[in-house]
Symmetry: C2
Subunit: 391 residues, 2 copies
């Protein structure tokens, strides 16, 4: 089977964009990614866009042809993929499969969300569309509430401390402070996190990723097309898995089965285990989720995630640098865009050209994008060098 | 490249299902399709679902893992695809590509929509999410309004008559009267159509497809897996294309560029032209759209669609039987489900086992699924026999 590489990657500033529409943001990210790839719009054979809820946020479904139109790419095939907060990475996965199928050689995978055009409470209830409407949303649960339940269970079962949760946010803000595209590029302290207002006990404001507008895009190319590129970053493995929407239907609150299954498959495709991953972008929508991620991805044993964070492993100079550009917490979380933004950050790190954000010597990277409270997980593994893969 | 076939196909009754939820309907369609394929749930490697707007209709995004959960298929990969009313066929296309990529051998492609849980006016405005929110929805346009503009332009430019439009609905209801799963299984006359209330001049109530609840599902299999099946129906060509969302941005109101581009590619992949297509399912969301479809698919010359209908070509015993099970008009139009429902009807006809609905001697069939006013078009071509294809 042919290899596939990312040859262009970019994202807009993540922010509250009062002066820009969703179409402005997607066009900006796409144009930058195409320019970064050193190709022309006419080289693009198809477009995929991850978006969670433009229908509710801005009254616009059918976003894919609109994006192709605004980018001047008509009449190419354009597909919207939705998997809540994992929409972006899932759009990437299907762009990857479309190239693997042989139908297209160069494809754009984008992600976008405009979340600030409605009132805050309406945004919260729109986001609950990612949970189980009949069993969770209808009871008044919010996503912070769901992750607070997970956090409490993890603290109870494994002795994870409140401070360890805070250290996740501290790490990610420390990285994000270097990122000019981050929504909240400032450093914070453990004390800041602990003293910020409770959203859902034990999670405080600074355990939670914000509501954000933004877009991100990457250009994928078949092996043949990628070989003409300046600096291709190869897709070594790409896999997704699913779990129940409702948290109460799962055997365990403290692991994400979808992450474990998707990771196992992605590692298998890539022919490597977690020990061979140099850097990772994981889905820190809430601080607890980064702790689950490092465990479920196999970076440490189940239950030891809090200790793994506390020991400094996730720092830029640690054994497994994570969210090196700021994560969802500091960069922001325009839900449909996040999965692609994570991939952009991995690609930029592996290219070795990420300026002040650069982590030294990274040659492999993994991105984990999670939908809802874990009903969808998508794992993509990348490498500076192409290598044999089983898929 | 490996061939792909449909080995199972089913849809629920299309209706106002007050007693069934979206998850009930999808599970019912999926279970029936899997049983029809003669396989077990554990054989299914991935699931795709087309859905336009469950976020607005029932407050539920993230529909794909929910569908996998309800069907007992966890933790398989589950992906929602959205392209307004073309969501179903686009989910099918990506299921097809996923098999072609070699990642999976057996995949379910489903489509579902529950439209009657909100008020009628809210359903109409939700459907306008398929149009251009900034340029069309905001002005108060409805989809009937958009298609009325198209109808007027076609009548003006080509002399298409009001009666010819009505004949589309008459034909489709005549077929639908034989279909136990149709929402409105009764015959109607030209006079009925002309005398029904105007929705948007020149379109009356009986030119318009209804608001409907329903789900449909097909099982796709790789060539190797399909060869074990009783009666595989082969995918000969599958293609999509895009156009502007806003009608006013197009060069012509009387042709759908996306349909023409998608059809050209699908014919090219299948190595056959429109003359080799025995039967077709086309997107008669409004009567005028079936006239555009027969022209843009190349069944007759541009501008001659009205005459083509009047001359009886689209009848069950005509030269090109169209919407032989009732079309969107008589079967109903649960928007995300329609594209899959069309494929189910083609598959059942090509198997030659469609009881009273059977059209004699059909060995090839085409399904055209259109999103919005034509910003997305998906064309799938099927055959009783596998044959060489260029993709």
């Amino acid at each position: 089977m042919t290899g596939v590489a990312v040859i262009g990657a970019a994202y807009t500033k993540f922010d509250e964009h009062w002066e820009k529409s969703l179409r402005d943001l997607s066009t900006e990210a796409g144009t930058k990614a195409i320019a970064d790839a050193g190709i022309e719009g006419r080289d693009i054979k198809a477009l995929f866009i991850g978006n969670m809820s433009a229908g509710k946020f801005i009254g616009q479904e059918h976003l894919a042809p609109l994006t192709a139109e605004n980018a001047g790419l008509l009449p190419i095939p354009a597909t919207r993929v939705e998997a809540a907060c994992a929409s972006g990475a899932l759009a990437f996965l299907h762009a990857y499969l479309a190239i693997k199928s042989g139908m297209y050689d160069i494809v754009v995978a984008a992600g976008a969300e405009k979340m600030t055009d409605i009132k805050g409470n309406d945004a919260i209830s729109t986001l609950m569309g990612a949970g189980d409407q009949e069993w969770e949303s209808a009871t008044g649960l919010t996503f912070t509430g769901l992750y607070a339940l997970i956090a409490r269970a993890h603290m109870h079962q494994f002795g994870t401390t409140r401070e360890q949760l805070a250290m996740v946010s501290v790490n990610n803000h420390k990285n994000g402070a270097l990122n000019p595209n981050a929504q909240f590029p400032m450093e914070i302290t453990i004390e800041d996190v602990l003293k910020s207002p409770f959203i859902a006990d034990p999670l405080t404001l600074l355990d939670c990723s914000p509501i954000t507008d933004g877009a991100a895009a990457v250009v994928l190319a078949s092996e043949k097309a990628a070989r003409k590129s300046r600096n291709p970053i190869w897709v070594l493995g790409s896999a997704q898995a699913s779990d129940t929407l409702a948290l109460h239907s799962r055997n365990s609150l403290t692991e994400m089965l979808a992450t474990k299954v998707a990771a196992r498959k992605a590692y298998e495709y890539a022919g490597m285990g977690p020990d061979k991953i140099d850097i990772a972008e994981v889905h820190d929508c809430f601080s607890i989720n980064e702790i689950l991620a490092v465990e479920d991805l196999g970076f440490c044993e189940k239950g030891k995630g809090g200790r793994f964070v506390e020991d400094g492993n996730i720092a830029r100079n640690g054994s497994k640098p994570i969210n090196t550009a700021g994560g969802l917490k500091s960069i922001g979380h325009p839900v449909g865009a996040t999965g692609i933004r994570q991939i952009v950050d991995i690609v930029k790190q592996l290219r070795g050209e990420y300026g002040p954000l650069q982590v030294k010597g990274a040659s492999t990277g993994l991105a984990l994008n999670v939908g809802g409270s874990g009903a969808t997980a998508v794992v993509n593994i990348f490498g500076k060098e192409d290598r044999p893969r089983t898929f």
